[in-house]
Symmetry: C2
Subunit: 431 residues, 2 copies
């Protein structure tokens, strides 16, 4: 019976896995340099956890099941609910600021089709505790540091940053009523993916369209500078002024961290999710219709949903698929090769037991070492060494029989040297 | 609404995660030094994949669900079926030997109770392709290398090795008929967990108990040496002789690799699973009733189940839970601490923007760096540096204002030095 990979899922053969690990290593490395600590959570949670955050419509978007005890679970479609649950459970014990990251795999019940995966990995990094814009600046700095680490610069990607409450205050000066801001954001969030006439029609359907026409909004979104929006927000009242001040701080700190050059202010970035309460940001390829590489922002009451004390936070999620797709598009995807430190070759089948002994010594010393399973000629073994990406070949032959020496050949430079067996086993250094 | 961690699942807070990563790093490192390459597979597979390998009874042991297309899936309860599927799909294209490892998370629908987890991680390493006992020796060498790497020696653990076909031939000389061997193995597999009288009763229920009594079997299992079993197998016919020769080779190669000192021959290790066809092994704590740390063996037709060409293999699985439990029992579990390379301290709030600038430089250079979110006194910031496990504190104070210098204090030795700001930013070395 032939059984396929489930639709929308990926197998990672070693070639694919080296690439995944290349990505994971960068994600982890950037997180750690920025003082974040890794956490993990179960692959499935109570279905209610997702319902609580996203409402009943989430149920059709996740893979859910019932256990024999009648409990309902869902494979996680995102990490934030698990994060909120974990933080709420220990809110008072965890040292602040809580700077956590994770590289979870997760699943969504997409209809299987090209480009829509049911399983993916998503880097998450969050700072919980501080209300300070410093936390927002840090998570954006983490995104920029990753982009730079994989070779992406300001010509390739922009981290587009906005602030929902500053933007809300600015929109209100245009005539959008306070209770219409969420609806306006919902539409603005789609403006880049919607044909102009569809957007106009949808906007004109809004109850406040007569107070604030579609042309006014379009013009404003395209032209309003950061300074203008900060001014408008500052003038809108005490809270608006505080938000404007916070957003000003954020830009100042992005400058201080040396990452502002990759960031642009963009009023169109409002994020669809209602729980964002302050800064919002997305990293977008400069060219092409590719989707956002990551998105995030400030949320101020996620733990409250779980009866925990209020713990404000800011964070983002970045999927493996858009990042790898974008780098492939730019032809900048690395192709990490198979590598070994050494390949041990026996020039004489009599010496094979000695070869295995040496292999054991070298591996115990932490070197990546392999050898041929088949007793074949030296030439074939050298060929295998090259195929396996070995840096050195170590040959056991007449030198070993005659003088107790092994030959170490550097397969890149082509140079070779001999060394006494006992000295080498006692302290196996290849260079 | 309060929502708990699902029963039988674990949250990994940063303290727990550091320990998991300590284990994962050893698993990965040992695999790579032995020339194994990492792979991964989907978190869920078609339910039929598990049915095919384990029969219908598997269905009650897994978490399964149906998608909207009416397909049935199960969260993976083990990795071997995915491995077999992946290898069968590319059997002719993959370079041999196929030496693969993975660190998958997996789930089993256990009834939630203490010590029975529904989710765990299991290191898998397999060599596919060669029938040579060398492959068996390599996977056992990998197990031993891991045990040694985490500080376990021959006084703590034994890797108990047997060979199903050698053992079968030996049992047949005692009077067990050829078609009774599987039933005999099924019972022998439980001998250490069963009270003596229960074992005797169960053995006496076997149809061939009159030909081979329980005392004969018990005596044989306890006393038969490797040499005796090899002799018995060699005398049992051509196939038995070939198996005896292969098992002899295996021991010779374990010697050559330098791992035989951790291995013992043990006739009682037969493994419950029917698909093992040659060597079988388990790593057991020497003391206490703790369960096996890992188990594995040779299987010769796993890919055949999937209509693939026959690809013989040998491998093992090792769960994270028994290993961590055992190390905890021995009081040898490490407690990896929070660490940072440096903590940047501003002695004057005016210098905070400079502090962030330095933090940005150091992080970009690959150092793990953090700082205080709150502008507090130098003493408090030093305390935070220590709490965060920082190796160095870098202080920005009067030295920076007066002479453009920063102070670097080694928090372990207590020594400190000053260095020019520009020189340090250009080449941030802490030691």
């Amino acid at each position: 019976m032939k059984i396929q990979t489930p639709p929308g899922m990926r197998d990672f053969y070693p070639d694919d896995m080296r690439l995944q690990n290349w990505l994971f290593t960068h994600w982890r490395q950037v997180s750690l340099t920025h003082g974040f600590e890794e956490y993990e959570a179960p692959i499935f949670e109570f279905l209610d956890l997702y319902r609580l955050k996203s409402g009943d419509e989430i149920v059709s978007e996740v893979f859910s099941f019932e256990d024999r005890g009648g409990r309902n679970f869902a494979i996680r479609p995102e990490m934030t609910p698990s994060l909120a649950r974990m933080v709420a459970a220990r809110a008072n014990a965890l040292p602040r600021p809580i700077k956590w990251f994770s590289l979870p795999r997760m699943c969504r019940a997409e209809r299987p089709q090209r480009g829509r995966l049911r399983e993916f990995f998503q880097w998450n990094a969050d700072v919980l505790g501080p209300e300070d814009a410093l936390a927002d600046a840090e998570v954006i700095a983490v995104v920029v540091a990753f982009l730079r680490a994989v070779g992406l610069g300001p010509d390739d990607v922009a981290v587009r940053v906005n602030h929902r409450r500053v933007a809300a205050a600015a929109l209100q000066t245009l005539g959008v009523p306070a209770d219409g801001v969420v609806a306006a954001f919902g539409l603005i969030d789609k403006i880049e993916r919607m044909p102009a006439d569809k957007f106009a029609a949808a906007w004109n359907d809004l109850p406040f369209a007569s107070a604030c026409g579609v042309d006014a909004v379009r013009g404003f979104l395209g032209e309003a500078t950061l300074e203008r929006c900060l001014d408008l927000a500052a003038q809108s009242g005490e809270d608006g002024a505080a938000q404007a001040e916070q957003f000003t701080q954020l830009w100042r700190q992005l400058e201080a961290f040396g990452v502002a050059g990759m960031c642009t202010f963009d009023l169109r970035i409002v994020r669809g999710l209602a729980y964002y309460t302050g800064s919002v940001f997305e990293a977008h390829p400069k060219q092409g219709g590719l989707r956002a590489l990551c998105g995030g922002g400030r949320y101020d009451d996620l733990t409250g949903l779980l009866d925990g004390p209020r713990v404000p936070g800011v964070g983002f999620g970045m999927g493996d698929v858009p990042v790898l797709e974008f780098l492939r598009e730019l032809d900048r995807l690395p192709s990490p090769e198979r590598t070994l430190d050494a390949f041990v070759i026996d020039a004489d089948a009599d010496l094979f037991a000695r070869a295995l002994e040496l292999v054991g010594h070298l591996r115990a010393a932490g070197l990546r070492v392999d050898f041929s399973y088949k007793r074949t000629g030296v030439g074939k073994q050298f060929k295998q060494a090259t195929q396996r990406g070995a840096r050195h070949a170590i040959v056991l032959g007449d030198e070993l029989k005659d003088r107790n020496e092994v030959v170490i050949k550097d397969l890149v430079s082509g140079t070779q040297r001999t060394i006494d067996w006992d000295a080498f086993c006692a302290d196996p250094k290849l260079d």
